[in-house]
């Protein structure tokens, strides 16, 4: 029983981690309707900035704050120089352009920081395991991630769904020309929102750095995962992305935890031990395919265009 509870907790916290990773992309892709493959690169930059600044200042928190600012600026610069020409273009144009950015950032990072990757050590107060229920210890840092993820979710929801700015972003995503004709400086607004998305990417990058890695290309696998979550949740729906992230986190964790044993019960030992790992590798994709076959617009379709 303990085991199940603990695995459920693992699933929940992994889901929230995934939401954190997907949050920035929800804004840029889900709401602004811009397919930004370079989101993973911004996420990587966030982690590299944080590792560098933390090493300079000797403080994890200070380094993180500086890194947030740096990714915000980087995002704004990127949008201003290149990406603003691509709104309202075909999604594929955005794919190609931002794919180019991935190539660029990966090599730029290699040039600047070398190929070896960096470490972002945690301050001691975040490394201790905390007892959350009697008998179950949880890494303190993971609790911190949960808190940040929940805060980001609330922030995003309020900004996008409950404020004028949110309305304008959604309106601008569906019809830029018209929102301009109504007197809104949509270019500026989008630049800022893109910057916010970049900062969220950076936040995700630096938050995961202590438990995952700071590496070239670290953004790419996560990027796909983030897209998977947004798509399962239904593009444009923050609530959908949030629930989908938890759903994916749960299924993935529980699947890996219990699938092999379950399979061993129905299949012969040898068949099970080849099928189980293969199946758990595919699990997330299988999940997405099933969701989309049953609900072609994701679990929580946002308003139709």
């Amino acid at each position: 029983m303990y085991l199940v509870v603990e695995q459920l907790l693992n699933g929940l916290q992994f889901g929230l981690l995934l939401f954190l990773l997907a949050a920035g992309l929800t804004l840029v892709f889900g709401i602004m309707d811009f397919v930004n493959l370079a989101h993973g690169s911004l996420y990587m930059m966030g982690a590299y900035f944080a590792a560098t600044f933390a090493a300079w200042t000797g403080s994890f928190v200070l380094g993180s704050v500086m890194a947030l600012g740096a990714t915000l600026l980087l995002g704004i610069a990127l949008e201003y120089v290149a990406l603003r020409h691509l709104y309202g273009r075909d999604h594929l144009d955005q794919v190609l352009a931002t794919f180019g950015l991935i190539l660029f950032f990966n090599d730029a990072v290699r040039l600047i920081w070398g190929p070896a990757g960096l470490a972002l050590p945690l301050p001691a107060w975040l490394t201790v395991p905390v007892q959350i229920i009697p008998g179950i210890y949880y890494p303190a840092y993971r609790l911190a991630i949960i808190a940040v993820a929940l805060a980001v979710a609330a922030l995003l929801y309020i900004v996008v769904m409950r404020t004028r700015v949110g309305m304008l972003i959604r309106a601008g995503a569906s019809n830029r020309e018209m929102i301009g004709a109504l007197g809104i400086n949509i270019k500026l607004l989008f630049t800022l929102v893109f910057g916010l998305g970049a900062a969220l990417a950076g936040l995700a990058g630096l938050m995961q750095a202590p438990i995952l890695t700071v590496q070239i290309g670290m953004g790419e696998n996560i990027l796909i995962l983030a897209f998977v979550i947004i798509v399962i949740g239904g593009i444009g729906s923050i609530r959908g992305a949030f629930l989908a992230a938890i759903f994916v986190g749960m299924i993935d964790t529980l699947g890996r935890a219990f699938l092999p044993d379950l399979l061993r019960k129905v299949l012969s030992g040898a068949a099970a031990s080849t099928a189980a790992p293969a199946l758990s590798s595919m699990l997330i994709y299988l999940l997405m395919a099933i969701v989309l076959v049953v609900r072609p617009e994701g679990l929580f379709p946002a308003a139709k265009r």
Partner: protein, 369 residues
């Protein structure tokens, strides 16, 4: 020809470029030590990036063979890249020296007169770890590894020698799994006396982070293969202290060549430390040198060169070793541990010799006798 041409295929882009760079650094150092000449002739090395993709590796190999007409091809980190490229080299009778990849096919049915290894066959290292765990009297183990060919080979390698009980075996999604908490929870709850993992590169950093943060480090000891090395150590930091691994080369092996290599490497590449990848690449250069010297520079004498290389008649950084019939080294494996240098730096240290003159178990399948 009036120069010796060597092609070097490895990964120089993407996150694993760090390995390729180390191999290149060591190879260059070997050439420096040789006076950048082999048998009096200048050496020309052409480095090619395989991007860790088999078909690119194959194309680069073809380029080296067809366009640059090299005399030797060296390198290959990845089994699948090597396997894709093998045929090109063998068909053109160009000597190929694998400085890392050691798939079982290479030791068995795909062995070739033109192919040598300065590394090992994949199973040997984990098998050595299994032996060590027996020596320590470990009763039971929980195995965790990535779900791909090498991962499965590694876990199978431990199982082939480990005498205790295997209480559980988990394969994780490769290369994209981020979170190992499900596996760690299972391992802790399994009651196993130890955990064995194989996670190369970034995944190893990630695993050790989560292993330590979950507080399991204090509860269940970890044994590894290819998970802690000089490349990952700066990222793993204290998490790696006390985590044993097996390797055929460690930086403190007490022979003169090795001391010179490690010292000169640190001098030539400040801030970096050599790894076994580099040591293997260094040995590859020495192996080539021994062959060319043996035929007095007449590179058309392929048979004589083959015979010379089979003798492994050069001063290897790991100490002397012999070649098996399949051109895979028969060699010692050492136990390595992570310790703090006097200057506070983390480094690897040889603790014991686990096994002497270990030969891979696929050599029977190799048609060469």
């Amino acid at each position: 020809a009036d120069s010796i041409k060597i092609g070097f295929v490895s990964t120089f882009s993407g996150p694993t470029a760090v390995i390729g760079n180390d191999m290149r650094n060591s190879f260059e150092l070997a050439l420096d030590h040789l006076g950048r000449k082999i048998d009096g002739k200048p050496v020309e090395v052409i480095y090619e990036d395989d991007q860790q993709k088999p078909d690119i590796g194959k194309q680069k190999t073809e380029k080296l063979v067809q366009s640059d007409k090299v005399d030797f091809i060296v390198g290959y980190i990845w089994s699948n890249v090597l396997l894709a490229s093998l045929k090109t080299a063998v068909d053109s009778k160009t000597f190929l020296i694998s400085a890392n990849a050691g798939p079982s096919q290479l030791a068995g049915e795909l062995c070739s007169p033109y192919v040598f290894s300065t590394s090992w066959q994949n199973d040997q290292t984990p098998a050595a770890m299994g032996l060590y765990m027996n020596q320590k009297g470990v009763k039971s183990v929980f195995l965790i590894g990535p779900n791909y060919a090498a991962g499965k080979d590694m876990l199978a390698g431990v199982k082939s020698t480990f005498k205790g009980q295997v209480v559980g075996e988990e394969y994780t999604v490769w290369p994209s799994q981020l979170d190992f908490s499900a596996e760690l929870t299972k391992a802790r709850n399994s009651g196993a006396a130890s955990i064995f993992v194989f996670y190369p590169g970034a995944a190893g950093v990630q695993f050790l982070n989560q292993y330590a943060q979950a507080g399991i480090k204090q509860q269940i000891p970890l044994y590894t293969a290819f998970t802690v090395d000089e490349l990952s150590l700066p990222l793993q930091k204290d998490n790696a202290i006390g985590i044993p691994g097996a390797q055929e080369w460690v930086n403190d092996l007490p022979n003169a060549e090795n001391k010179k290599f490690v010292e000169d490497y640190r001098k030539k590449y400040p801030g970096l430390r050599p790894t076994y990848y580099g040591a293997q690449a260094y040995d590859a250069a020495q192996l080539i040198n021994s062959a060319v010297v043996a035929v007095k520079g007449d590179l058309t004498k392929k048979d004589a060169m083959k015979a010379a290389m089979e003798k492994a008649d050069f001063k290897s950084l790991r100490g002397p070793f012999k070649y098996g019939n399949n051109h895979i080294p028969i060699q010692n494996f050492y136990l390595q541990d992570v310790v703090k240098d006097p200057d506070g730096q983390l480094s690897l240290k040889t603790v014991a010799t686990i096994v002497k003159d270990d030969q891979d178990k696929f050599h029977d399948k190799c048609p060469m006798k």
